[in-house]
Amino acid sequence: MPKLHWEDFFAGQVVECGPLEVSAEEIKAFAAAFDPQPMHLDEAAACATMMGGLCASGWHTCAMMMRMVADGLVLDSSSMGATGCPEVKWLAPVRPGDRLRVRVEVLDTRPSKSRPEMGFVNARFDTLNAHGVRVMTLTSHLMFGRRPPASAADGPRAAAP
Protein backbone atom coordinates (compact mmCIF):
# COMPACT_ATOMS: atom_id res chain seq x y z
CA MET A 1 0.00 0.00 0.00
CA PRO A 2 1.35 3.49 -0.80
CA LYS A 3 2.52 5.66 2.06
CA LEU A 4 0.47 8.78 1.34
CA HIS A 5 -3.29 9.02 0.96
CA TRP A 6 -5.61 12.03 0.73
CA GLU A 7 -5.93 12.05 4.53
CA ASP A 8 -2.18 12.73 4.88
CA PHE A 9 -2.38 16.18 3.29
CA PHE A 10 -3.33 19.40 5.12
CA ALA A 11 -3.36 23.13 4.41
CA GLY A 12 0.01 24.74 5.11
CA GLN A 13 1.96 21.49 4.65
CA VAL A 14 5.24 22.01 2.79
CA VAL A 15 7.12 19.27 0.92
CA GLU A 16 10.52 19.84 -0.69
CA CYS A 17 11.31 17.84 -3.85
CA GLY A 18 14.42 17.56 -6.02
CA PRO A 19 17.08 18.56 -6.83
CA LEU A 20 17.51 18.01 -10.56
CA GLU A 21 20.41 19.22 -12.70
CA VAL A 22 19.56 20.69 -16.10
CA SER A 23 21.96 20.00 -18.97
CA ALA A 24 22.24 21.78 -22.31
CA GLU A 25 21.86 18.42 -24.04
CA GLU A 26 18.56 17.71 -22.30
CA ILE A 27 17.23 21.22 -23.00
CA LYS A 28 17.97 20.73 -26.70
CA ALA A 29 16.64 17.17 -26.82
CA PHE A 30 13.30 18.15 -25.26
CA ALA A 31 13.09 21.17 -27.57
CA ALA A 32 13.83 19.11 -30.67
CA ALA A 33 10.99 16.77 -29.76
CA PHE A 34 8.39 19.26 -28.49
CA ASP A 35 9.33 22.95 -28.74
CA PRO A 36 11.78 23.52 -31.61
CA GLN A 37 12.32 27.27 -31.17
CA PRO A 38 15.78 28.86 -31.53
CA MET A 39 16.00 29.89 -27.83
CA HIS A 40 15.75 26.22 -26.79
CA LEU A 41 17.72 24.56 -29.59
CA ASP A 42 21.01 26.30 -30.22
CA GLU A 43 23.31 28.49 -28.11
CA ALA A 44 24.26 30.91 -30.88
CA ALA A 45 20.72 31.32 -32.21
CA ALA A 46 19.40 31.69 -28.65
CA CYS A 47 21.72 34.66 -28.04
CA ALA A 48 19.90 36.57 -30.78
CA THR A 49 16.49 36.10 -29.10
CA MET A 50 14.81 38.00 -26.24
CA MET A 51 16.05 35.26 -23.88
CA GLY A 52 19.69 36.18 -24.55
CA GLY A 53 20.92 32.59 -24.44
CA LEU A 54 19.89 28.95 -24.39
CA CYS A 55 17.02 28.23 -21.98
CA ALA A 56 14.63 25.36 -21.36
CA SER A 57 11.16 25.23 -22.89
CA GLY A 58 8.56 26.17 -20.30
CA TRP A 59 6.91 22.80 -20.94
CA HIS A 60 10.25 21.14 -20.23
CA THR A 61 10.36 22.96 -16.89
CA CYS A 62 6.84 21.64 -16.20
CA ALA A 63 8.00 18.12 -17.06
CA MET A 64 11.11 18.41 -14.85
CA MET A 65 8.97 19.73 -12.01
CA MET A 66 6.67 16.74 -12.47
CA ARG A 67 9.62 14.37 -12.26
CA MET A 68 10.83 15.90 -9.00
CA VAL A 69 7.32 15.85 -7.52
CA ALA A 70 6.83 12.27 -8.71
CA ASP A 71 10.04 11.10 -7.00
CA GLY A 72 9.55 13.19 -3.87
CA LEU A 73 5.83 12.88 -3.27
CA VAL A 74 3.55 11.23 -5.81
CA LEU A 75 5.03 7.81 -6.60
CA ASP A 76 4.61 6.57 -3.02
CA SER A 77 1.03 7.82 -2.85
CA SER A 78 -2.49 6.94 -3.94
CA SER A 79 -2.24 9.58 -6.72
CA MET A 80 -5.10 9.53 -9.22
CA GLY A 81 -3.65 12.27 -11.43
CA ALA A 82 -4.63 15.91 -11.70
CA THR A 83 -7.52 17.78 -13.29
CA GLY A 84 -5.40 20.73 -14.38
CA CYS A 85 -3.59 23.89 -13.34
CA PRO A 86 -5.50 27.16 -12.87
CA GLU A 87 -2.27 29.09 -13.39
CA VAL A 88 1.26 28.42 -14.64
CA LYS A 89 3.79 31.29 -14.63
CA TRP A 90 7.24 31.10 -16.15
CA LEU A 91 9.07 33.74 -14.12
CA ALA A 92 12.75 33.37 -15.05
CA PRO A 93 14.73 31.41 -17.65
CA VAL A 94 16.00 27.90 -16.83
CA ARG A 95 19.59 27.69 -18.06
CA PRO A 96 22.03 24.84 -18.69
CA GLY A 97 23.74 23.92 -15.42
CA ASP A 98 20.83 25.07 -13.24
CA ARG A 99 20.07 22.91 -10.24
CA LEU A 100 16.31 22.96 -9.71
CA ARG A 101 14.19 22.03 -6.73
CA VAL A 102 10.46 22.23 -6.04
CA ARG A 103 8.69 23.56 -2.97
CA VAL A 104 5.17 22.19 -2.73
CA GLU A 105 2.74 23.98 -0.42
CA VAL A 106 -0.71 22.54 0.20
CA LEU A 107 -3.31 25.33 -0.01
CA ASP A 108 -6.40 23.29 0.90
CA THR A 109 -7.90 19.83 0.71
CA ARG A 110 -11.48 18.65 0.22
CA PRO A 111 -13.21 15.31 -0.21
CA SER A 112 -14.90 14.58 -3.53
CA LYS A 113 -18.68 14.96 -3.29
CA SER A 114 -19.40 12.57 -6.14
CA ARG A 115 -16.63 10.00 -5.54
CA PRO A 116 -16.21 8.92 -1.90
CA GLU A 117 -13.08 6.92 -2.73
CA MET A 118 -11.05 10.07 -3.51
CA GLY A 119 -10.32 13.65 -2.52
CA PHE A 120 -8.69 16.77 -3.92
CA VAL A 121 -5.48 18.47 -2.82
CA ASN A 122 -5.01 22.02 -4.08
CA ALA A 123 -1.33 22.95 -3.97
CA ARG A 124 1.17 25.53 -5.16
CA PHE A 125 4.37 24.27 -6.79
CA ASP A 126 7.29 26.71 -6.80
CA THR A 127 10.30 25.63 -8.86
CA LEU A 128 13.50 27.36 -7.72
CA ASN A 129 17.07 27.45 -9.00
CA ALA A 130 20.25 27.21 -6.91
CA HIS A 131 20.16 30.99 -6.29
CA GLY A 132 16.71 30.66 -4.75
CA VAL A 133 15.08 32.42 -7.71
CA ARG A 134 11.60 31.17 -8.53
CA VAL A 135 11.73 30.13 -12.19
CA MET A 136 8.17 28.80 -12.31
CA THR A 137 5.11 28.79 -10.10
CA LEU A 138 1.91 26.91 -10.67
CA THR A 139 -1.16 25.77 -8.81
CA SER A 140 -2.77 22.42 -9.41
CA HIS A 141 -5.68 20.33 -8.17
CA LEU A 142 -4.36 16.84 -7.48
CA MET A 143 -6.55 13.80 -6.88
CA PHE A 144 -5.65 11.17 -4.28
CA GLY A 145 -7.36 7.99 -3.17
CA ARG A 146 -8.76 7.92 0.39
CA ARG A 147 -7.09 5.74 2.99
CA PRO A 148 -8.90 2.38 3.23
CA PRO A 149 -11.18 2.41 6.32
CA ALA A 150 -9.38 -0.42 8.17
CA SER A 151 -6.20 1.65 8.55
CA ALA A 152 -7.79 5.09 8.82
CA ALA A 153 -6.71 5.46 12.47
CA ASP A 154 -3.05 5.18 11.40
CA GLY A 155 -3.16 8.45 9.46
CA PRO A 156 -1.18 11.45 10.75
CA ARG A 157 -4.38 13.49 10.88
CA ALA A 158 -5.97 11.06 13.33
CA ALA A 159 -2.76 10.91 15.36
CA ALA A 160 -2.34 14.69 15.61
CA PRO A 161 -2.82 16.16 19.10
Binding site: W59, A63, A70
Partner: protein, 164 residues
Protein backbone atom coordinates in the same frame (compact mmCIF):
# COMPACT_ATOMS: atom_id res chain seq x y z
CA UNK B 1 6.16 33.58 -37.23
CA UNK B 2 3.79 36.37 -38.17
CA UNK B 3 3.91 39.86 -36.67
CA UNK B 4 1.64 41.07 -33.87
CA UNK B 5 -0.24 43.40 -36.27
CA UNK B 6 -1.07 40.48 -38.58
CA UNK B 7 -3.11 38.66 -35.93
CA UNK B 8 -6.84 39.10 -35.30
CA UNK B 9 -8.99 38.23 -32.30
CA UNK B 10 -11.19 35.27 -33.22
CA UNK B 11 -8.89 33.78 -35.84
CA UNK B 12 -8.74 30.02 -35.56
CA UNK B 13 -6.02 27.70 -36.77
CA UNK B 14 -6.13 23.92 -37.08
CA UNK B 15 -2.69 22.83 -35.95
CA UNK B 16 -2.97 19.22 -37.06
CA UNK B 17 -3.36 15.96 -35.17
CA UNK B 18 -1.25 13.30 -33.50
CA UNK B 19 -1.84 9.66 -32.63
CA UNK B 20 -0.32 8.76 -29.27
CA UNK B 21 1.34 5.33 -29.28
CA UNK B 22 1.84 3.23 -26.14
CA UNK B 23 5.60 3.33 -26.69
CA UNK B 24 5.85 7.11 -26.78
CA UNK B 25 3.47 7.50 -23.82
CA UNK B 26 5.71 5.21 -21.77
CA UNK B 27 8.96 6.80 -22.99
CA UNK B 28 7.85 10.31 -21.98
CA UNK B 29 6.48 9.06 -18.67
CA UNK B 30 9.57 7.05 -17.73
CA UNK B 31 11.58 10.23 -18.03
CA UNK B 32 9.19 12.82 -16.56
CA UNK B 33 6.06 11.33 -14.98
CA UNK B 34 6.54 7.66 -14.08
CA UNK B 35 3.17 7.12 -12.40
CA UNK B 36 1.87 3.57 -12.87
CA UNK B 37 -0.98 4.56 -15.20
CA UNK B 38 1.55 6.20 -17.60
CA UNK B 39 4.27 3.51 -17.70
CA UNK B 40 2.67 0.07 -17.39
CA UNK B 41 -0.37 -1.28 -19.25
CA UNK B 42 -1.20 -3.98 -16.70
CA UNK B 43 -0.86 -1.66 -13.71
CA UNK B 44 -2.85 1.05 -15.53
CA UNK B 45 -5.68 -1.42 -16.13
CA UNK B 46 -6.08 -1.75 -12.36
CA UNK B 47 -6.42 2.03 -11.80
CA UNK B 48 -9.46 4.29 -12.19
CA UNK B 49 -8.15 5.18 -15.69
CA UNK B 50 -8.64 1.57 -16.78
CA UNK B 51 -5.83 1.62 -19.36
CA UNK B 52 -2.49 3.19 -20.18
CA UNK B 53 -2.83 6.96 -20.68
CA UNK B 54 -0.48 9.85 -21.43
CA UNK B 55 0.91 12.24 -18.85
CA UNK B 56 -0.97 15.53 -19.14
CA UNK B 57 2.42 17.21 -19.61
CA UNK B 58 3.05 14.93 -22.58
CA UNK B 59 -0.24 15.98 -24.18
CA UNK B 60 0.66 19.64 -23.62
CA UNK B 61 4.16 19.13 -25.05
CA UNK B 62 2.77 17.52 -28.22
CA UNK B 63 0.37 20.46 -28.55
CA UNK B 64 3.40 22.77 -28.35
CA UNK B 65 5.18 20.98 -31.17
CA UNK B 66 2.15 21.44 -33.43
CA UNK B 67 1.89 25.09 -32.37
CA UNK B 68 5.57 25.78 -33.18
CA UNK B 69 5.35 23.93 -36.50
CA UNK B 70 2.39 26.14 -37.49
CA UNK B 71 4.48 29.23 -36.63
CA UNK B 72 7.29 27.86 -38.77
CA UNK B 73 4.89 27.47 -41.70
CA UNK B 74 3.80 31.09 -41.20
CA UNK B 75 7.45 32.16 -41.23
CA UNK B 76 8.07 30.29 -44.46
CA UNK B 77 5.08 32.01 -46.06
CA UNK B 78 6.50 35.42 -45.06
CA UNK B 79 9.94 34.50 -46.44
CA UNK B 80 8.32 33.35 -49.67
CA UNK B 81 6.78 36.82 -49.91
CA UNK B 82 10.20 38.45 -49.44
CA UNK B 83 9.64 39.45 -45.79
CA UNK B 84 11.69 38.71 -42.68
CA UNK B 85 9.51 36.71 -40.26
CA UNK B 86 8.84 38.08 -36.77
CA UNK B 87 10.97 36.87 -33.89
CA UNK B 88 9.43 34.36 -31.50
CA UNK B 89 9.23 35.65 -27.96
CA UNK B 90 8.82 33.71 -24.73
CA UNK B 91 5.59 32.99 -22.88
CA UNK B 92 4.99 34.55 -19.45
CA UNK B 93 2.60 31.74 -18.61
CA UNK B 94 -0.76 30.10 -19.13
CA UNK B 95 -4.14 30.04 -17.40
CA UNK B 96 -6.86 27.49 -16.81
CA UNK B 97 -4.93 24.44 -18.02
CA UNK B 98 -7.32 21.50 -17.94
CA UNK B 99 -7.09 17.82 -18.77
CA UNK B 100 -10.83 16.92 -18.84
CA UNK B 101 -10.28 13.36 -20.11
CA UNK B 102 -7.34 10.98 -20.37
CA UNK B 103 -5.42 10.49 -23.64
CA UNK B 104 -5.25 6.73 -24.11
CA UNK B 105 -2.76 4.81 -26.26
CA UNK B 106 -4.09 4.86 -29.82
CA UNK B 107 -6.09 8.09 -29.39
CA UNK B 108 -5.76 10.66 -32.18
CA UNK B 109 -5.80 14.20 -30.81
CA UNK B 110 -6.56 17.22 -33.00
CA UNK B 111 -5.12 20.55 -31.86
CA UNK B 112 -6.69 23.97 -32.42
CA UNK B 113 -5.61 27.49 -31.51
CA UNK B 114 -7.96 30.50 -31.35
CA UNK B 115 -6.71 34.04 -30.70
CA UNK B 116 -8.73 35.54 -27.83
CA UNK B 117 -6.83 38.72 -26.93
CA UNK B 118 -4.20 41.04 -28.41
CA UNK B 119 -2.39 43.36 -26.00
CA UNK B 120 -0.35 45.97 -27.85
CA UNK B 121 1.09 47.65 -24.76
CA UNK B 122 3.45 45.44 -22.81
CA UNK B 123 6.42 45.90 -20.52
CA UNK B 124 8.68 44.99 -23.45
CA UNK B 125 9.03 47.71 -26.09
CA UNK B 126 8.58 46.40 -29.60
CA UNK B 127 6.58 43.39 -28.53
CA UNK B 128 2.87 42.67 -28.20
CA UNK B 129 1.24 39.93 -26.15
CA UNK B 130 -1.02 37.41 -27.90
CA UNK B 131 -3.42 35.29 -25.85
CA UNK B 132 -5.07 32.25 -27.35
CA UNK B 133 -7.37 29.43 -26.31
CA UNK B 134 -5.66 26.16 -27.17
CA UNK B 135 -7.42 22.83 -27.28
CA UNK B 136 -6.90 19.16 -27.99
CA UNK B 137 -9.88 16.98 -28.95
CA UNK B 138 -9.90 13.21 -29.39
CA UNK B 139 -11.31 11.15 -32.26
CA UNK B 140 -14.71 11.01 -30.52
CA UNK B 141 -14.94 14.79 -30.23
CA UNK B 142 -14.15 14.85 -26.50
CA UNK B 143 -11.95 17.61 -25.12
CA UNK B 144 -8.71 16.24 -23.59
CA UNK B 145 -6.66 19.45 -23.27
CA UNK B 146 -7.56 23.13 -22.91
CA UNK B 147 -5.67 26.21 -21.78
CA UNK B 148 -5.22 29.90 -22.41
CA UNK B 149 -1.66 30.53 -23.56
CA UNK B 150 0.13 33.88 -23.78
CA UNK B 151 3.12 34.67 -25.94
CA UNK B 152 5.19 37.73 -26.79
CA UNK B 153 5.20 38.47 -30.51
CA UNK B 154 7.37 41.04 -32.27
CA UNK B 155 5.58 44.13 -33.56
CA UNK B 156 5.93 45.11 -37.18
CA UNK B 157 6.07 48.85 -36.46
CA UNK B 158 9.10 48.61 -34.17
CA UNK B 159 10.99 45.65 -35.55
CA UNK B 160 14.12 47.69 -36.23
CA UNK B 161 14.24 49.25 -32.78
CA UNK B 162 12.56 46.59 -30.70
CA UNK B 163 15.79 45.15 -29.39
CA UNK B 164 18.66 47.19 -28.16
Amino acid sequence: MRYFEDMRVGERADLGSHTFTADEIKAFARRYDPQRFHVDEAAAARTHFGALCASGWHTAAVFMRHFVEAEQRDAEALRAGGETPAQAGPSPGIRDLRWPRPVYAGDTISFVREVTELRAQTTRPGWGLVVGRNTGTNQDGALVLAFFGAKFVQRRDTRDGGRS
